[in-house]
């Protein structure tokens, strides 16, 4: 919940990356080329229309958007929800250079980042091949990238683990990864978050591992079509209703444009345990219309 008790409303970055989960055709048609200033206009318009913050994958596309917002001082206070890693770019590098090539690229990026703590931590972690230290080094690197792009009143509220890493780690029973991740971010007073396409499975595993979910954030699909809600919409809704605290941010609420905002908002209003929603917009006009509708829907929830 946000300060006035209504659900949180965040701007998503999918349109800025040229992503449409409804169809790639649609994403191409609406155009991939958009300046960071034009994207910042959309974020600013959404903030003026009731959004509380911005959820973004940490990438060369989104960091300039933050810089653009900072330079214009148009948005003063904004809560930031960062997703790491930007899996698309890493998969693309792995496709072009293989896994060892990807590892070398990440090491090089960290080495060139100028973040002394991350560099030293990284050298030690690689030398000892310590999995927890490697994870912390990587997170330190990503956090330093974000912080170098933001301004004093902008708050890095949460860092969320990308769904591919979250879901693979759940499947492979990497409880150590979740524990280290939560512990590291909590110490930095950043809410540990997880993006997943397997929400009921995540909750089951966290309970099995004895992880307290109350202070975490989970971003997962919630929409009327049950799109990407695995294993089913009913199972996801039931898991949500059984949570003791509202920790879930709904993503894909428009099912990637399958629903018009009023229809999607009607469904969201029935999910009272949602902490908030994340929604993307492709233009300033769309941001004003969409965020206006969802702002009302979240206020009207039972």
């Amino acid at each position: 919940m946000n300060a006035d008790g209504k659900g949180m409303l965040l701007v998503g970055d999918n349109p800025f990356h040229g992503i449409s989960h409804l169809s790639q055709e649609k994403a191409r048609n609406r155009g991939m080329e958009r300046s960071s200033a034009a994207s910042a206009d959309i974020v600013a318009a959404a903030m003026r229309s009731g959004a509380d913050g911005f959820m973004f994958s940490v990438s060369d596309v989104t960091l300039p958007i933050l810089k653009s917002l900072r330079e214009r001082r148009e948005v003063d206070q904004i809560k930031l929800y960062a997703i790491v890693p930007y899996a698309y770019e890493y998969v693309r590098i792995a496709t072009q250079t293989g896994t060892p090539g990807l590892a070398k690229k990440i090491v090089k990026q960290i080495a060139l980042s100028g973040d002394i703590g991350a560099v030293l931590g990284g050298i030690g972690a690689v030398f000892r091949m310590n999995r927890e230290s490697l994870l912390k080094t990587y997170l330190a690197y990503e956090i330093s990238r974000i912080k170098s792009s933001i301004w004093s009143k902008a708050e890095l509220s949460s860092v969320l683990l990308h769904e591919v890493i979250t879901d693979m780690s759940l499947a492979l029973n990497f409880d150590w990864l979740f524990k280290s991740y939560i512990s590291y971010l909590s110490k930095k007073e950043i809410i540990p978050g997880f993006n997943t396409r397997n929400f009921p499975f995540l909750v089951r595993k966290f309970k099995e591992w004895g992880l307290n979910m109350d202070e975490l954030l989970v971003a997962t699909q919630f929409n009327k079509a049950g799109f990407q809600m695995n294993p089913s919409r009913e199972a996801c809704e039931e898991t949500l209703s059984n949570l003791s605290r509202p920790i879930v941010l709904a993503i894909s609420v428009l099912a990637a444009g399958y629903f018009r905002p009023p229809e999607a908002a009607e469904y969201i209003a029935t999910q009272e345990k949602l902490r908030g929603i994340v929604i993307g917009a492709s233009s300033v006009e769309q941001a004003q219309e969409t965020f206006g509708i969802f702002s009302s829907a979240l206020s009207c929830r039972k």
């Binding site: 790639q24 496709t95 091949m129 879901d167 150590w176 397997n198 695995n230 294993p231 399958y258």
Partner: protein, 334 residues
């Protein structure tokens, strides 16, 4: 097999190896026993990552010996598929084999593997996961009911931006088998599955990178009934953030236009019907990447458990390698 659980090993810990290992580990009927990665650094890293678990991480497939594996997944680069699969059967490392596409680097290698599995038995499968897409499956169902009348012709495409802007010196496309083996194989397999077998007629154009590997290919094909089709395959298309595969089938009473995301059916009277993934019950028990991967693994696992051959057997997948070989032969590349 222990307590009706299949004991599985995975060779190759690139993105596909990790994806399959993860998905398999969620199946209650599967026990992930061992992983193999020959790169010393990666192997050492994964030993640490998996420490505390019961999964063995080894750097040589020979070390799978004695682990009593029922099935092995081969997810290494295409160039190594043939030698690894031969090693699995020669040393009886497992009875059942799943390999990522393509089956082998050439049709000759594929035939050799088909001969081996015919002798050795067991379940064998190649990972053409697009067959497990709900939209492509729906398109095939519609065409098979013949409600659109006689099939008159088709077009097929596979586009990605994977190597757009890659340097001319890059050998990565070649190591992945070039555009035909890396990307085009999926659409060739889908066309074979939906339209039946065909022969390559003409190669219209080929573009290659500095390493001599094809990055774009266009060719025509024809089947024994005279049905003709055209294929366009490119790994250097602008604005294809994710690889995209599509088919356009012209029929006497209408047309079908299908890609990874949606299916459009247009009747001659102008009636249009459209299905998105959303409309086709696309959820699975556990999803990473696309739900197709879960269904693909489910098909293999249940084929092993029920001792039945998969439709996507080595024998059927070898046909894709045959088509790729024919295109290369006609374009002067072997």
């Amino acid at each position: 097999m222990t307590e009706n659980k299949i004991r599985v090993g995975v060779v190759g810990l690139g993105k596909m190896g990790l994806l399959h290992a993860s998905l398999l580990n969620v199946f209650p009927e599967v026990e992930l026993v061992a992983l193999c990665e020959k790169s010393a650094l990666t192997s050492r890293l994964f030993k640490k990552v998996f420490s505390g678990s019961e999964v063995h991480v080894v750097d040589d497939i020979a070390k799978f010996h004695g682990l009593d594996l029922d099935a092995i997944y081969v997810t290494t680069p295409i160039s190594s598929h043939s030698s690894i699969i031969k090693q699995i059967y020669a040393n009886h490392l497992a009875r059942h084999v799943f390999t990522e596409k393509t089956l082998a680097l050439s049709y000759n290698q594929s035939r050799e593997l088909c001969d081996i599995v015919e002798k050795e038995g067991g379940v064998n499968m190649v990972g053409y996961m697009k067959r497990f897409s709900m939209v492509f499956g729906k398109a095939r169902d519609i065409l098979q009911t013949r409600e659109l009348g006689e099939l008159l012709g088709f077009k097929a495409y596979a586009y990605s931006s994977d190597f757009l802007g890659a340097t001319k010196k890059s050998k990565s496309s070649a190591s992945r088998g070039g555009a035909l083996s890396d990307l085009g194989c999926h659409i060739i397999d889908l066309a074979l599955w939906i339209f039946g077998r065909f022969k390559v007629r003409d190669v219209l154009s080929v573009a290659r990178n500095g390493a001599g590997s094809e990055t774009s290919v266009s060719f025509t094909a024809v089947n024994s009934n005279g049905l003709s089709g055209q294929f366009d395959i490119s790994q250097s298309m602008a604005d294809y953030r994710m690889p995209e595969f599509g088919l356009l089938a012209e029929c006497a009473a209408g047309r079908i236009d299908v890609n990874d995301d949606r299916l459009c059916l247009t009747l001659r009277d102008g009636t249009l019907r459209k299905w998105y993934r959303h409309d086709l019950a696309d959820c699975v028990d556990f999803s990473i990447g696309d739900p197709e991967y879960h269904r693909e693994n489910s098909e293999f696992v249940h084929s092993v458990l029920n001792d039945r051959q998969c439709e996507l057997s080595f024998e059927n997948a070898a046909v894709v390698d045959y088509v790729i070989g024919e295109v290369r032969k006609r374009s002067g590349v072997q």
